[in-house]
Every structure is written in structure tokens, then in C-alpha cells.
Amino acid sequence: MIDKIVASAEAALADIPDGATILLGGFGNAGMPSELIDALIAQGAKDLTIVNNNAGNADAGLAALLAAKRVRRILCSFPRQSDSWHFDRLYRAGEIELELVPQGTLAERIRAGGAGIGAFYTPTAFGTRLAEGKETRRIGERDYVLEYPIRGDYALIKADRADRWGNLVYRKTARNFGPIMAAAAACTVAQVREIVELGALDPEVIVTPGIFVQRVVRLEAMRKAA
């Protein structure tokens, strides 16, 4: 019997080594797998590379992971926020490396990572500072920048419901990076509000098929939602 359900966040993250690349779902706090991040902080892995749209808000979730100095390098599109004080301090002190990526390029690099694409050309950022040093090519009437895929050792994402095969459905804009990150990581851990019987999720509406998900954790803290 296939059963991807893991008893706790602690058990789901136990094997993450130092130096791992982790794709973290969420756009701001929507879809951020906060309980998994708390468990990652407790687990102690350090020297991590993190991929997320942002660089943490206020003091919880990704911001707490940064504050705990577990992150060596971060790839994101929008680190600067009114409440990104932990990132700001580390960045100014030279204690974290930033790779700034346009948001659509970030999403497409992750998608490409999950889809086995070797690289792709995009017009985004051509002629700007963010394309400096990158290979470019004129195709037809447009100029393009060559971009490489992003893959993770792990993806930590948040979904709404799952079954024991790892099929997932999300809730509203909390979906954001979840489906593409799930496909782009060697081991995807999804925290969910509810686990349902196999067959209870309508195959027509499953957003992330279980092939992209290795571990599912149901978290009590999420049950209040919805």
C-alpha cells in the first residue's frame, strides 16, 4: 500500500542535510508552510539555499529561518518589504547571498526544473542589470535572455487537502508556487489542513498529482482555516 502520510513535521524533515537547496512555497504569508519552517528551524539544518518569492515578513516563518542564520543564499524576486527587517539586516551585513530573479523568470525556472528543460530563452530583463553576464540571442524580431532551471533537494509547500497518494488541492491564492515547486524537488513535503480517503478528491480538480509529492503531513494548527 502506498502511504505518503507522515506522522509529524519533525519526521517529515528529519533527513534534510546541511547545504540543501529548499524550494519554499508561499507568496507573502499566503501558502507559506509556516509549521514546516518552524520544524526546519528546530531540526537545525544550516548553510541552506532557499528559493521563495520573498525574503520573509515580520518575525515568523521564513523570516525566523533567516534570523536563525540557517540560510547562506536566497533566490527571490522581491526581498525588500516594509517588514523584511531580518533579511535587510543580514543582507547589509553581508551575511546572506542574494540572487534577484524577475518573478516570472523565477516561476518559469522552477517550472523548467520540474519539466526536465535544460534552459530557455525569455525576453524578460533583456537589456537590464538583471541580464548582465547572461547569454542572449535574437530570435525573429526580439531579444532574449538565456535562463537555467531551478531544482530543489526538497520542496516545502502548503496545500488544503491531500490523500495518501499525495494528490493535492489548494485554497485560493495560497496555491501560488506550490504546484511548480512540488514538481521541481527531489523530495516534496506538503503540509495540509485535511487528509481525505483515496477517491474523495475529484480527479477532475486535483491540482498537483501525487507523483510530485513524497510526504504529506496534516497539521492541527491548520484545521482552524476555512
Partner: protein, 215 residues
């Protein structure tokens, strides 16, 4: 000089958004455009975090932490709305499916280059979000900004001095003084919205301007 305020600029932009358009509004002044769309038009707003059919702000107490807009503010979804993941959302932008995006800017050049993501200051923490994708991918890029800096310098320039967001992508500029079209042969004044004449507008702008030929 009598000139437009932020809401009046937003209202002027709204006039030019046709029925049925798929539109992405940037953060700040562009967000105000949604509140000025004429009631007889059905416009579908795209929010790059994953919604088509973005609605107005929710009532107090009706916020949902899983439903936010690109500015991370509580949002609503209209009947007919769709949710999707980020790669699909940016395929809509980068694939040329968004009819109009409205962006703020520090500077726009006569060739339609836009600078809106970085002040260029050495110690500034950079953040770009979806600005470069929108500049490169939307069918039409409208820019809203004040015509002049606080020091009185024109934000419409021969060449941008701030770091670029995109090259030759802006199609129309809406300021507190004028509406300008970016064309292959230069900037055309479509409308002066302040109580000044063409010569004064040209003097304040400091780059060559053409009067639009009768449409």
C-alpha cells in the same frame, strides 16, 4: 498650475481601458484605476499571484489569509474568477495574453524604455517582482507618474538614468500634465490635462514632443 491629482490620473487611465480587456494593475497609483472603471464596462483584472477576476477589497472582518492580491493586501474574487499557479500566471503575462498593464515609473524615455524597480543607490536593497515580466510581456504598457520630480526635473527623458526595467515597451504615458503616446518617431501629445499650453509642456518636459495628428 492646475494639474491632475492621483485619482484624476487614475480616472483618465480608466477611460482608455476597453470593455472586455484583461488588465494587470501595478502597486500604488495604478491600483486606483480599478475604482474608476465606467460601470458599463466589464474588465477582468489579473493579479500575478494567481487570480483572474480580482474584485474589490473585502469588508472589514471578511478578510481571508489565503486570498490576497499582488500587494499582499486582502482581496476578493468575483463570480467567474479563476485561481492558478505562478507559472500559469506569468505565462499569461509573458505570453502576451494581458491586454494592458499599468505601471508606475521613476522615468520613461522617448523610446519607451521604463525604469521603475531600482533607485540606483548603492546601498538600496533591490526588489523587482513582476515588473520586468509585465514590461516585456503585456500587449500595451501604460505608465502613470507625476510629470516632474519634486526638484522640477522631467521624468520623461532622452535616456533613463535609473536602472532599466524594460526597453521600448511603454505605449502610453499618463501624467498630471499630459497624456503622451510613444511611437516609432517619438512622443506624441495626445492630450494636455493641466492648464498649460503645448509650448509650456514642451519646456517642462525637455525632450522633443509632437502634437498628435488628428485621429
Amino acid at each position: 498650475m492646475k494639474k491632475l491629482d492621483r485619482h484624476q490620473i487614475a480616472a483618465r487611465v480608466a477611460q482608455d481601458i476597453p470593455n472586455g480587456a484583461y488588465v494587470n494593475l501595478g502597486i500604488g497609483l495604478p491600483t486606483l484605476v480599478a475604482g474608476h472603471i465606467p460601470k458599463d464596462r466589464e474588465i477582468i483584472f489579473h493579479s500575478e499571484n494567481g487570480i483572474l477576476g480580482l474584485g474589490p477589497k473585502p469588508a472589514a472582518g471578511a478578510e481571508d489569509e489565503d486570498l490576497i492580491d499582488a500587494g499582499k493586501n486582502p482581496a476578493t474574487a468575483l463570480p467567474g474568477a479563476a485561481y492558478f499557479h505562478h507559472a500559469d500566471s506569468f505565462a499569461m503575462i509573458r505570453g502576451g495574453h494581458i491586454d494592458i498593464c499599468v505601471l508606475g515609473a521613476f522615468q520613461v524615455s522617448v523610446a519607451g524604455d521604463i525604469a521603475n524597480w531600482h533607485t540606483g543607490e548603492a546601498d538600496a536593497i533591490p526588489a523587482v517582482g513582476g515588473a520586468m515580466d509585465l514590461a516585456a510581456g503585456a500587449k500595451q504598457v501604460f505608465v502613470t507618474m507625476e510629470h516632474l520630480t519634486k526638484q522640477g526635473e522631467s521624468k520623461i527623458v532622452e535616456r533613463c538614468t535609473y536602472p532599466l526595467t524594460g526597453l521600448r515597451c511603454v505605449t502610453r504615458i499618463y501624467t498630471d500634465l499630459a497624456v503622451l503616446d510613444v511611437r516609432a518617431d517619438g512622443l506624441h501629445v495626445a492630450e494636455i490635462v493641466a492648464d498649460i499650453g503645448f509650448e509650456e509642456l514642451k519646456r517642462l518636459t525637455g525632450v522633443p514632443l509632437k502634437v498628435r495628428a488628428a485621429a
